[in-house]
């Protein structure tokens, strides 16, 4: 099979999996041992393997997201990094120091829990002060740093409240302040926005990014929300059944999914047959018309089965004449002519093969074993 052009793929020599698309070049810039390094991490619960032989490097100061469906191992990996679980195999190092056997209270890592885990018997200020208090920091310094942390999350006026008297979004902010006051090397966030409504979630996404830039510590963020992952991350890893399917910056993962799973989990996508094999085509790259297929373009004809108006775009699902289903999206421009397409309309879908990205299925990756690819293949 012809290998795709223009791809820089790094395949782990031992496992044969694609570790990163850009890692080889980035490694030249960032010295290893500065961030978090996971080597061959395996964790079993009973007979179930929650995390299977995962290698991962997270760079210092990076906003790194672990994305995947529930049960894909992302939260387990986070708990392993925090020290709540001990791996059955493999090592975890933080800035070059092996922390695999250390308990949570001896790691320079703090966690923002999914249920916030605020202490209900303490007020906001004492919750935030907790980490400093147990480390016997001086009273005056604690007060000062609590004040600063509450300011950062804009919760100063709520210092005397109990957690039960706060809204979900406010608890979220307190949990964040309680973690960052300790100036951890890495901040772990376990689906921190999961319990918030959409509007608040979007606000907090912006807020989290701002705080991360401001304090410059590494964030490892777990979510099953692909949109959240794409908007917030510097890089993200897509998890499936305890393994990493792909690691890369959001644009790369979205535009050039390495596997069919990634293509379907991150955004909507169509898989088409290209001359070189199977390829991924994003809905917005497909033109939908009711005329004939233009000269020199690839395409197919079919019948609209579903129209969904999504605000900025309208999404059409089309049953092709060959029986397959494809999804196309069309920008809703205010001035432009609107196509009056309703279910059962006959349409022509067309696309440019250059917009499609060749798919490397999992089995393809396995056959590349021992062939670390450098540069254009």
């Amino acid at each position: 099979m012809a290998t795709p052009s223009t791809r820089t793929r790094f395949v782990d020599a031992t496992s044969g999996r694609v570790v990163s698309e850009t890692r080889a070049s980035e490694l030249d810039v960032i010295t290893s041992g500065q961030g978090i390094l996971l080597r061959g991490i395996t964790k079993r619960f009973g007979s179930q393997e929650a995390v299977s032989d995962v290698d991962l490097e997270v760079y210092r100061g990076e906003f790194f997201t672990m994305l995947g469906p529930s049960g894909s191992g992302k939260t387990t990996l986070l708990r392993l990094i925090a020290g709540f679980e001990v791996p059955d195999k493999g090592t975890i190092s933080l800035r070059g120091v092996d922390v695999t056997g250390l308990p949570p209270y001896q790691r320079g890592v703090n966690t923002v829990f999914q249920d916030y885990a605020l202490f209900p018997h303490f007020d906001v200020a004492r919750n935030v002060a907790y980490g400093l208090r147990v480390r016997h920091v001086k009273r005056a310094e604690i007060d000062e740093r609590v004040q600063a942390a509450l300011e950062m999350v804009q919760m100063t006026e709520f210092a005397a409240r109990r957690p039960a008297q706060l809204s979900g979004g406010q608890r979220q902010r307190v949990a964040l302040a309680r973690a960052i006051i300790n100036e951890p090397q890495v901040l772990l966030l376990d689906e921190p926005l999961g319990a918030l409504d959409l509007k608040l979630r979007q606000e907090m996404q912006v807020e989290l990014k701002r705080i991360q830039r401001q304090i410059g510590i590494t964030f490892i963020y777990v979510t099953h929300d692909q949109e959240e992952a794409l908007t917030m991350s510097d890089r993200l890893a897509v998890f499936r059944s305890g393994r990493i399917e792909q690691i890369g910056p959001p644009t790369e993962v979205y535009e050039r999914p390495a596997t069919e799973f990634v293509a379907s989990f991150v955004g909507t996508s169509n898989v088409i047959e290209a001359p070189y094999g199977r390829a991924v085509l994003r809905p917005e790259k497909i033109e939908i018309t009711n005329g004939p297929l233009a000269e020199g373009r690839d395409g197919a004809t079919g019948q609209v089965i579903d129209v969904a108006y999504l605000g900025m775009v309208t999404r059409y699902r089309v049953r092709l004449d060959n029986g397959n289903t494809m999804t196309a999206a069309r920008q809703n421009s205010s001035g432009g002519s609107q196509l009056a397409l309703t279910p059962e309309s006959r349409v022509t879908l067309s696309w440019d093969l250059n917009d499609a990205f060749p798919l490397m299925s999992h089995s393809d990756a396995e056959t590349q074993l021992g062939e670390p690819a450098k540069g254009a293949i």
Partner: protein, 269 residues
């Protein structure tokens, strides 16, 4: 659930009947305690607090009361320590026979008191242990422990484990986590358990009969007095006193364990 007016009315009447049936006898005792007459009959013609004075000045009642208080306090203290520790052990660790152990623990309450009492007496007999206040304490501790255990284990089950993890994550050593998070989390459950345990011990008759020997606790004195059929007005006064002394801690225990919502879940959702 929506019920018709008639159904709701029916339930209300039924509930009122049940409550009356349970509480009316108590009310009768309280009334008779203030009856001047030696022969109890309704309606009460002459009211008096005389019998309370008689009971208060009766040395037999005094020593029985004192024994009950001492035994109750000691049994409660033992129950608090052992019950809390066992609750931790059962909740925190998975070990072989865990379910069996938790069943065996609640057995003293599940078994008829007469079985527990007889078993204890036989055990003291063959080991040649003299029946004394200590044997009463041991007997009471067996079932008091269950109450404390049940309260604490229920609280532990309702408590989100992420609080403990959060504490550890924030740098607290296990001892600090225990002191700053675990104990405050369990405090009301432990207090409620202790109050219930004391109330149970204070009015226990059956197990005490087998473990007290020649001494009288307050309930044993009451029991004896009723059997003899004399001093009945004085008994009524003592019963009212016992009623108050046990109802207050029970009411307080119910308040502190229901007044707060389940610990730890207030932080989520």
């Amino acid at each position: 659930m929506r019920l018709s007016r008639l159904t709701r009315g029916g339930f209300a009447v039924f509930a009122a009947l049940v409550v009356t049936f349970v509480l009316a006898p108590l009310l009768v005792i309280v009334l008779f305690a203030f009856d001047k007459s030696n022969v109890q009959s309704l309606p009460i013609r002459h009211w008096t607090t005389h019998w309370f004075a008689v009971a208060f000045n009766d040395p037999a009642v005094r020593s029985a009361l004192w024994l009950s208080v001492k035994a109750g306090c000691a049994a409660t203290l033992i129950a608090l320590v052992l019950g809390t520790l066992v609750a931790f052990g059962i909740h925190r660790f998975r070990f072989f026979g865990r379910d069996t152990v938790s069943l065996l623990l609640v057995l003293p309450i599940a078994l008829p008191g007469i079985v527990t009492g007889l078993a204890l007496q036989s055990a003291f007999n063959i080991t040649h242990i003299q029946l004394s206040i200590y044997t009463i304490i041991v007997g009471h501790a067996t079932f008091c422990m269950v109450v404390v255990f049940n309260n604490v284990v229920a609280r532990l089950r309702r408590t989100s484990t992420s609080l403990i993890e959060a504490s550890s994550d924030l740098g607290a050593r296990p001892w600090q986590t225990f002191r700053l998070v675990t104990v405050p989390m369990l405090s009301t459950a432990i207090i409620a358990g202790g109050l219930l345990a004391f109330a149970l011990s204070f009015d226990e008759v059956i197990v005490t009969t087998f473990t007290a020997g020649a001494q009288n606790t307050l309930p044993l004195w009451i029991f004896g007095a009723i059997l003899r059929g004399q001093q009945l007005p004085e008994v009524n006064a003592v019963v009212v006193f016992v009623l108050i002394l046990t109802a207050v801690p029970i009411a307080y225990a119910a308040r502190i364990s229901s007044g707060e919502r389940s610990f730890g879940s207030t932080g989520s959702k």
